[in-house]
Amino acid sequence: MALTLTCPVCGKRNGYEFRYGGEEKGPRPDEAGITPRSWCEYVHMNQCVAGIQKEWWCHKDGCGVWFTTHRDTTCNLEVDKPEAQS
């Protein structure tokens, strides 16, 4: 157990209380005229950033909230001030 995440409701907790919900990709695109490729881009494709990424988490074993956080994937640590560092 190494990762900790800061739930906006419950505070800093053990990472295993949470569910990873993917890279932040923005709201669902409009359906009209969307091509298979751009739909796939939204659903499956990842940037796989080796560095700080914005991502979704759910505090599944706690309060259940979905939230975004910034995490550095090269050290598996949450980043306090992502804008300042990125």
Binding site: A2, R28, W39
Partner: protein
């Protein structure tokens, strides 16, 4: 062996004798002994044989740095005798010996080293190919140290705790103790972890004066008592740290003593700040036969005497590179050891008082000399010393060689914590250059040696750790820094890597029998990075966790490359830092599983219970796994199924409908009061992930069910897919709040009518309707007319606390109508006859809603709702070459194909999801996923079962449902 008595430093209790067995002999030790010291006291010098060459191995260190003293204790293999306290009645055996450690029949292997250069097996043993299987057997037999039988049962009790700490201090020596005290003075929760059974570290056994009139031993024991009184400090002794992880998670295990509730206890500590004060071990001296029994490290010799009262030998030579070696020589001399000579690698830099001590005792002292060879067949009888360049040599006959190249900082916890270590030329240590957040370091591992400095550095680290916890510590920090600055700094470390040796048996790693020569061979082959050499020669991969080669190997490699300063890189350290029992890691291992409210009564009724996902459920109610009686009773009379595991949810609020529209394929705005709506959820590849029913209980207030498997993830799923919308709706997971009974069969209504005053006639409560009413005026139920098993059925959702009562009421009321339980397998067959889908049985990850024939559930007219899966449903709607769900019947009705059989022609065209003999239809029927071109009615399917030896079965695609295709029986 006679023990030295009356030493104030002893940690043994001469009054308490312990008995143990070794080599079929009854031996004695004392309370406080380790298995190793007790054996040593009994005259044992060879503890086992080495892995590859079967060389005799003895007591070299006392903290488990090598596998030399790995023994079998009470049937448990690879027990480190150095770190295991002796207990009464222990049975101890040597490992990896054919015969005894003294006369090992495989001792000849030592002469065959020429045939086994580094990586020799990669280049040999495969030519010709047929010899490899034979060689492989021999390789397997020769490998491995301990033995364990397949039937072995590990005795003892194993436990776990997850304490929180503000500051966790690793190492209970003088630095760690000072750090703990400093942190505790700030009112913080402190945990102090120490591997040995007592605090005090390398002060504990030393009689040197601390400058205030006390010996180091006395002063540190006083400090320990003081610390034990401090209620803010929780001290764990006999607790080696095994892991340090991100965000200061420290794992360790505590060995229980007699009064403890456990044999071993796993600890997982989340600390705000961690202080690493692990101190040092010794850097092994590399010379010929450097691991011959009779050669030991300074601390080992010194502690044998001072801690255990055992004079380590009679006549000794010292070849050391650190003042602790000089101190030990003096001390041991005074205790009666004949010291023939002390050779110091260092030309200068020694403490003058120690030199004077040697002179006073007439102990010959050679500066710039070093041991180059240990002689003696099995144990030591002679030592050759030489000058560092190897130009002058001297021999000494002796039975003890105290040998050590210098100190090695125990940086394991720091490395695991991702600290960046770098070679520091003055001390010769790998020292942390960059520490992770909220990790502090103190004491000897920084190269400090002076007692006051060590304590002061502990104080500083403890204060810094308090600062990490948010305590304002500025003035104390200043004070601690000033104090430290006034004291002596780090000692210069000795730089020697290898003595001037010629032979082939200079061991850089004892566990894997890796010699300096092997390392050179690896370098010559192009394995020029330390990590590659480790992999190629296995150095550092044995039970000693790199305790012997960890420091020397990178120094040696760097020296080979010609520039220690630039190229010395520490080797990778991995958890666990101390080998740890699987039993200990497993701890209490609670199995957490859900039971339905009628679990016990179903079990009592003969239910065969299976774990299905997070639940335990009744699969059968008889030994007849065809479930014929259960099935036929549902078709003929009436049956009760416990369906409590279905996911059940309330969803309400102004945006409730929006949320439903988002996740369900159908148009959920068309739900009408009093009716159930069946629909499905898909993922964004259009694949079906769930199905269930939704009812509207009030305006903007819905109650819906999901499959058992999806219950746990549904709230999360809906919140995820609405997370950008800011909608105002709420959900409650009522899965456990309601028990569910599916009462199905032609007599179901009669049974229900007996227990309720509500009108349950088909007119008042038709198929696909939803009603709420009371049972016996007491139990509120939510009821749905559904038809999963193809008969008249009422699904009754009842508050869980009433579930057993309702179950009993129905059982009682149904007696006259032939009611009985049915289980999951019966349901499985019943629903298959109706071709009703179970997700995961008739679908797989890639199966779309269209593929299973439920495409009609999808409402294509709600693109504004952005329904999950809708885009892909559109894109896959007319896609060819997908696996489609079909029903089939067998050409030969005497044979039911097995589930999971494949459908083939010249390639695989699909597979049988389920097939059973249908008692209603009196022939086998089944469902299969087949390539779309084979999905047409009347298509002949060729079924290939496992082990069929080319004998195929044949089936024909038929329309579904198989049973009651008009659906009359569900509408009865």
């Amino acid at each position: 062996m006679k023990r030295l008595e009356k030493l104030s430093t002893l940690r043994i209790n001469p009054a308490k004798t312990l008995h143990f067995k070794y080599k079929n002999k009854n031996l004695k030790g004392l309370s406080g002994d380790t298995v190793a010291t007790a054996l040593y006291a009994s005259g044992i010098r060879i503890f086992g044989r080495s892995l590859k060459y079967h060389r005799p191995r003895g007591l070299y260190s006392l903290d488990g740095e090598s596998s030399n003293t790995c023994m079998q204790v009470n049937g448990i293999p690879n027990v480190c005798a150095e770190t295991t306290l002796l207990a009464d009645g222990m049975e101890v055996k040597a490992q990896n010996v054919a015969g005894s450690p003294e006369t090992d029949l495989k001792g000849f292997m030592d002469k065959l080293d020429w045939a086994m250069p580094a990586g020799f097996y990669y280049r040999t043993l495969h030519k010709p190919a047929r010899i490899w299987p034979i060689a492989l057997k021999q390789v397997r037999k020769a490998a491995g140290l301990g033995k364990i039988s397949a039937e072995f049962q590990m005795p003892g009790k194993y436990d776990e705790i997850y304490p929180k700490a503000d500051v966790c201090v690793i190492g209970g020596g003088p630095a760690g103790m000072s750090a703990a005290l400093a942190a505790a003075e700030n009112g913080l929760r402190v945990i102090l972890l120490e591997t040995r059974p007592w605090l005090g570290g390398f002060f504990d056994y030393r009689t040197a004066q601390n400058g205030a009139g006390l010996s180091l031993s006395q002063s540190v024991r006083q400090a320990a008592e003081q610390l034990e009184q401090n209620s803010n400090v929780r001290i764990f002794t006999q607790t080696p740290v095994v892991g340090v992880y991100n965000n200061n998670l420290v794992t360790a295990f505590q060995k229980g003593c007699e009064t403890d509730y456990f044999d071993e206890r796993y600890l997982e500590i989340r600390a705000t700040s961690v202080v690493v004060a692990t101190g040092c071990s010794e850097r092994p001296l590399l010379f010929e036969n450097n691991e011959r029994p009779g050669v030991m490290q300074i601390g080992c010799a010194h502690r044998l005497a001072q801690t255990y009262g055992l004079l380590p030998g009679k006549q000794a030579v010292f070849s050391i590179g650190h003042d602790l070696g000089l101190e030990a020589a003096l001390d041991l001399f005074d205790l009666g050891l004949e010291v023939l000579c002390v050779a110091d690698i260092r030309e200068d830099g020694q403490d003058p008082a120690l030199i004077e001590g040697l002179q006073q005792r007439n102990i010959p002292f050679l500066r710039g000399w070093v041991a180059t060879r240990a002689h003696g067949n099995k144990t030591l009888h002679k030592v050759t010393l030489a000058t560092i360049p190897g130009t002058l040599r001297k021999d000494f006959s002796c039975d003890l060689l105290v040998a050590s190249a210098g100190m090695t900082p125990l940086t394991g916890p720091l490395s695991l914590a991702q600290a960046k270590l770098a070679f520091e030329p003055y001390t010769g240590f790998f020292i942390p250059r960059q520490l992770p957040a909220k990790i502090q370091v103190a004491g000897r591992l920084l190269g400090l040696n002076h007692p006051a400095t060590i304590e002061a550095s502990g104080r500083l680290a403890g204060t810094l750790a308090a600062g990490d916890c948010g305590v304002s510590v500025e003035s104390r920090l200043k004070e601690a820094r000033e104090k430290l600055n006034q004291l002596p700094g780090p000692d210069q470390g000795s730089k020697l890597v290898t003595a001037p040796v010629q032979g082939r048996k200079t061991f850089i790693c004892f566990d894997e029998d890796t010699t300096v020569k092997n390392v050179k061979q690896a370098l010559a082959k192009g394995f020029d990075a330390t990590e590659l050499i480790k992999r190629f020669t296995a150095a550092g991969t044995g039970p000693g966790q790199g305790g012997i080669p960890g420091h020397n190997l990178p120094l040696f490699v760097a020296q080979y490359h010609g520039d220690i300063k630039a190229t010395a890189m520490p080797t990778t350290v991995r958890a666990p830092l101390v080998p740890t029992y699987i039993a200990t890691y497993a701890g209490s291992n609670h199995d957490m599983c859900k039971r339905t409210p009628v679990h016990d009564s179903q079990k009592a009724a003969g239910g065969v219970i299976r774990r299905i996902g997070v639940w335990k459920r009744a699969r059968y109610f008889s030994k007849d796994f065809s479930c014929r009686a259960e099935i036929e009773n549902v078709r003929k009379n009436v049956g009760l199924l416990d369906a409590s595991t279905l996911g059940k949810f309330r969803l309400w609020g102004p945006d409730a409908l929006n949320a439903l529209q988002r996740v369900y394929a159908s148009d959920m705005s068309r739900i009408t009061n009093g009716k159930v709506k069946y629909s499905a959820m898909c993922n964004d590849d259009a694949c079906i992930i769930d199905d269930g029913v939704v009812v509207k209980r009030a305006e903007n207030d819905y109650y819906f069910t999901t499959s058992t498997a999806r219950a746990g993830a549904t709230v999360e799923w809906i919140r995820y897919h609405t997370r950008y919308d800011g909608w105002n709706f709420h959900m409650v997971n009522l899965t456990d709040a309601f028990g569910v009974i599916n009462m199905a069969g032609p007599n179901a209504r009669k049974v229900l009518a007996k227990v309720t005053d509500a009108d349950v006639s088909d007119d008042a409560f038709p198929y696909a309707a939803y009603r709420e009413f009371m049972i016996k005026d007491t139990i509120p139920v939510r009821s749905m007319r559904l038809g999963f098993v193809g008969e008249l059925s009422f699904e009754l959702h009842v508050p869980s606390s009433y579930m057993q009562a309702l179950w009993d009421l129905l059982t009682e009321a149904g007696k006259e109508f032939g009611i009985r339980h049915f289980g999951l397998e019966a349901q499985n067959v019943l629903r298959m006859e109706k071709a009703h889908l179970i997700i995961g049985s008739e679908s797989e990850q890639r199966t779309t809603l269209h593929d299973v024939g439920l495409g009609f559930l999808w409402s294509r007219d709600k693109s504004e709702e952005k329904t999950v899966g809708a885009v892909a449903l559109r894109q896959t709607e007319n896609q060819e070459a997908r696996l489609k769900l079909v029903g089939f019947k067998m050409e030969d009705p005497s044979r039911v194909p097995k589930d999971g059989s494949i459908i083939v022609d010249n390639r695989i065209r699909g597979y049988v999801c389920i097939a059973r003999h249908s008692f209603a239809l009196q022939e086998p029927v089944g469902l299969a996923l087949v390539d779309a071109p084979l999905a047409g009615e009347g298509t002949r399917l060729q079924i290939y079962e496992d082990e069929c030896n080319g004998q195929h079965l044949y089936a024909t695609v038929v329309p579904t449902p198989f049973y009651d295709p008009e659906g009359k029986r569900i509408r009865m």
